[in-house]
């Protein structure tokens, strides 16, 4: 038996000689993305990896995740119910109304979640919305009784009733939205816990999910950048009238260019208008003012932005009335591409809004701003609104207005978040100053939720239409495969949802009733399906006979 060699306990003592540096120090450890592998085994890192995994699962499989979560919650409630029931049987003094009611409600709730998780989750979301609406109504009555300035109470009422109504009306969409939001927060927290070089984030303060807040609190305060940003986005001081006039002039030019570009269906011209328009700067001003809690600046920037919006729509209407050529909202490609936004447009707008805030805040990347302006496209949708309203096509105009609202809301929200993340707006300042702009923030968040719901509904409708269209194509394709002498001239869907299949062939189409029945089944009888046909005459000559 050999004596214990204390050197063996030193790090690197078990490494081969070749791997030990000459000076006796331990060689550099293996790293993953710059992080020592040993550090990844720490508790915080493992917790971060777990959070990241959950976030990825939530993003990749949102529906099964909801079901599994519902099931798990149901089982947990079931265990609670069983334990409490045993206690009720054993201990007579525990038989109180709240306990018995809790057990009864819990049993029904758990059974619902376990047996029908999909419907139950939706009902729970709706129930939550109902509770919020009731709480908002109670708060409103209390406010009216006190007859005092509303203040925070009004914001609370708006938030509770608006949010509750959305939850009741659109539970599925908001469930998906909520899942995505939870996934984003979990992912961000997990990333910070894994990649943060300072391991004491979780040790020094609240651990776990609050690591995100801890990290944000430790962001550097970039006061200098904020001053530069303020000069860019706020029209203040003695030069403000001149700058406002320039803003209006540029907005006017951009609106004219965009409206004409839409009329002549020239994408290049429309992109030119995007580069000229200064509207994003005004919206960034609103975002920064709300983040920092400056109500006057928020109000002034909102006024400037609304002036720009009015100019763009008004000029669009004038151009529409004066245009020497007809504008057909149903066929104009520049209009059609802007009248039916979906959540994908929201995703683009969020990314572009964040990029815009980043580029505005940092001098070294300000060259990216034109690209941001093209990506986010604020003026063309407004021009389309003016043009289509002038044509009396309110539906198309409203669709374009929704696209603009999507982009504007995304700029305001993503801009604010980016300002906090890059340190322009310190987190402590944000939390302290929100009292001053609470109503505006609540209205903004409610508007964002509403826009998200409308986009999701529009996306669902568009997807259903695409699916129905694909089904129609398949049915018609099968039919023509059985009847070689017939061909499909075209398949189209009118604005009222009617699907028209144009056929060409000799005489009357064979198996017409079967074809119509198949088409009706594909569209589930929701919309009319019409089959038209033209008699195809043909003459031939030659053939080598």
């Amino acid at each position: 038996m050999t004596a214990h060699d204390p050197d063996l306990d030193l790090p690197g003592a078990h490494l081969p000689e070749a791997e030990v540096a000459d000076d006796g120090d331990v060689p550099p450890q293996d790293t993953l993305l710059g992080i020592p592998l040993g550090a990844l085994v720490q508790v915080e890192a493992l917790r971060g990896l777990a959070l990241l995994t959950v976030a990825i699962v939530l993003v990749v499989w949102p529906d099964p995740t909801d079901r599994v979560l519902g099931l798990l919650v149901g089982l947990a409630v079931l265990v609670y119910v069983a334990a409490t029931f045993v206690q009720l049987v054993r201990d007579r003094s525990s038989r109180t109304f709240p306990t018995i009611l809790a057990v009864s409600v819990g049993a029904g709730f758990a059974a619902a979640l376990v047996t029908r998780p999909d419907e139950s989750t939706r009902s729970v979301v709706q129930g939550l919305g109902l509770v919020m609406v009731i709480a908002g109504s109670v708060t409103l009555v209390q406010l009216l009784r006190r007859r005092q300035p509303a203040g925070w109470g009004a914001s609370k009422v708006i938030g509770l009733m608006g949010g509750g109504a959305l939850l009741v009306g659109f539970p599925d969409v908001l469930l998906q939205f909520g899942t995505a939001a939870v996934a984003a927060v979990l992912g961000a927290t997990g990333l910070i816990q894994v990649f943060s070089p300072e391991r004491d984030i979780a040790d020094s303060g609240p651990a776990g999910s609050l690591a995100l807040v801890s990290w944000l609190r430790r962001r550097p305060v970039l006061a200098e950048d904020r001053r530069v940003l303020q000069e860019k986005v706020f029209l203040e001081g003695s030069t403000s009238p001149v700058r406002f006039a320039r803003f209006c002039a540029l907005m006017g030019f951009a609106s004219v260019i965009a409206a004409i570009g839409v009329v002549v269906e020239s994408t290049a011209v429309v992109i030119g208008a995007m580069l000229v328009a200064p509207l994003m700067t005004a919206l960034m001003g609103v975002s920064l003012a709300l983040t920092m809690g400056w109500p006057q600046r928020a109000l002034r920037s909102s006024g400037i932005a609304l002036t720009g919006v009015g100019l763009a729509i008004g000029i669009g209407m004038v151009v529409g009335a004066a245009a020497p050529r007809a504008i057909d909202p149903a066929t104009n490609s520049e209009i059609v591409s802007r009248t039916s936004p979906t959540t994908l447009d929201l995703a683009i707008a969020v990314a572009a809004g964040a990029a815009g805030a980043y580029a505005l805040s940092r001098r070294d990347v300000s060259d990216s701003l034109p690209g941001v302006a093209v990506a986010i496209a604020l003026v063309p949708p407004l021009s389309v609104v003016g043009l289509t309203w002038q044509q009396g096509d309110w539906s198309a105009g409203n669709g374009a207005l929704l696209l603009f609202l999507t982009n504007a809301t995304a700029i305001l929200l993503a801009g604010g978040v980016t300002f906090v993340l890059i340190g322009v707006a310190p987190l402590h300042r944000v939390s302290e100053s929100q009292q001053r702009v609470k109503s505006a923030v609540v209205v903004l968040l409610s508007a964002a939720a509403l826009v998200a719901v409308l986009l999701a509904l529009n996306g669902v409708r568009a997807t259903q239409a695409e699916v129905a269209r694909a089904g129609v194509d398949e049915v018609v394709s099968d039919w023509t495969a059985r009847h070689d002498e017939w061909r499909v001239v075209g398949t189209r869907t009118t604005s009222d949802g009617t699907t028209i299949v144009d056929l060409a062939g000799p005489g009357e189409p064979p198996e017409l009733d079967q074809l119509l029945a198949d088409l009706d089944e594909i569209t589930r009888g929701d919309n009319e399906v019409r089959v038209t046909w033209v008699r195809q005459e043909q003459a031939s000559v030659g053939g080598g006979g």
């Binding site: 109180t96 018995i100 009864s104 029904g108 619902a112 419907e119 939706r122 729970v124």
Partner: protein, 164 residues
């Protein structure tokens, strides 16, 4: 007649006043003399009415077992009608007995009532959450069992009545 010497006159104590007859029925131990809460009386009356209706339904089924129209409506044979009717009568009688026992302050019957109405609440909550097609009706079917549970276990008067 004068009293005999050496004998004291002992006056008989006045007869004790008869005990007040508050309840003709035998009360559960500890509940004698306590006024029955109105909510609990309402639950008892509801239970009795329910029991009477069930007994009546059972009786009708037994009596009308040979009625052609009833058989055509229900689509069952007379033998089954008699069995179901008898079961209903038994259930109704049992319900009436339980209601009477509850009125007397039986804590076990209160627990049984609590169990039955707790199950009713659970079923209503299940329908409310999982069966969206009957969601509105489920709200109404929640109200009655919750009210009964409140009268049995929630109200202070009820707690006082059942305290032993």
């Amino acid at each position: 007649m004068p009293a005999a010497p050496g004998r004291a006159i002992v006056r008989a104590p006045p007869p004790a006043a008869p005990a007040p007859v508050c309840h003709r029925v035998v009360m559960a131990p500890g509940t004698e003399g306590r006024p029955r809460p109105r909510g609990l009386t309402a639950v008892v009356v509801f239970g009795l009415v329910q029991a009477v209706l069930v007994v009546a339904l059972g009786t009708v089924m037994v009596v009308a077992r040979d009625d052609v129209e009833v058989r055509r409506e229900l689509g069952v044979d007379p033998g089954l009608l008699v069995v179901v009717g008898a079961v209903l009568i038994a259930v109704g009688v049992l319900g009436a007995v339980l209601a009477v026992l509850l009125a007397r302050g039986s804590d076990r019957v209160r627990a049984l009532y609590g169990l039955v109405n707790g199950i009713n609440v659970a079923v209503a909550v299940y329908s409310l959450v999982a069966l969206r097609e009957v969601q509105l009706e489920s709200v109404w079917s929640l109200v009655l069992p919750i009210a009964i549970l409140w009268f049995l276990y929630g109200s202070p008067a009820s707690q006082e009545y059942f305290r032993r």
